[in-house]
């Protein structure tokens, strides 16, 4: 699971062009939106594409993303559950 979390942080930084953010600066429980990383609605769509492209997971209902993308912890838990 910790490898997946590390991988998610690296992918988020690269794919969302978070130029001034390092992996070490993202805590597993940090909120990804709002006061945390400050991601926006377009970033949310990019994360949905990332789930599909890199993990083969399609979100049938984009509203699901609200819970899944809360933090690195929730994303990793969701991906692990889907892959199990």
């Amino acid at each position: 699971m910790s490898e997946l979390k590390q991988e998610l942080k690296e992918k988020i930084i690269e794919q969302l062009n978070l130029e001034d953010v390092s992996v070490e600066e993202i805590a597993d429980n940090d909120p990804l939106f709002g006061d945390g990383l400050g991601l926006d609605s377009i970033d949310a769509l990019e994360l949905i594409v990332m789930l599909d492209k890199d993990y083969g997971i399609k979100l049938a209902d984009p509203k699901e993303g609200r819970k899944i993308f809360e933090s690195i912890n929730t994303m990793a838990a969701y991906i692990s559950a889907k892959k199990a």
Binding site: L18, E19, D20, E46
Partner: protein, 203 residues
Amino acid sequence: MKNDYYIESYSHVKNGEISVNGKIVFKTLETEFKPVMKAAYKKLVVDYPKFFKMDNLSKLGFLAAEVLLKNESDKDMAMVFSNRASSLDTDRGYQSSIKDSTQYYPSPAVFVYTLANICMGEISIRHQIHSENCFFVMDEFSSETLSYYTNQLLDENKAKKVLCAWVDVDNGKYNAFLYVVSKKGTFVHSNAEINRLYKTTNE
């Protein structure tokens, strides 16, 4: 052309140099677009991470506007922009992400920049400009087109000032020339003067 309007100030971004009113404010030996923009951001822009999410056209226009509007307080400013390649530079990248039906992963973050006028939107957000705007796509820089439209806006009191631009990115080549027109300024708002200022780094 009426001569009761003036060019307050102007900026250029080209060949690794950024200048305001002819004075160089940034220079790098880098030649590739991406490292030039990144280095210029690091030197000239204070904490605006959204810059790195922008497409190349928006980055170019954003930096040229950043140095030009640094001390501008009047937000009643229209925008008249122009270029040759429209958003082709970004369009090609987006097209390549959807051309293979077995690897069809269109990027929403790229798609939102597949219009040239998004560049004006980014500048408007940064400088809180709420006004008329227009983006012309034409074969080459045309002072006539820009000045005609600008005079019309000012004559009809649509705005106190107009931010005019040629901002073009295509295949690694980039060129931005921005200038502010109002009732006060250093240079007469004439086609001859606009062309002279444009050519100061484009000869």
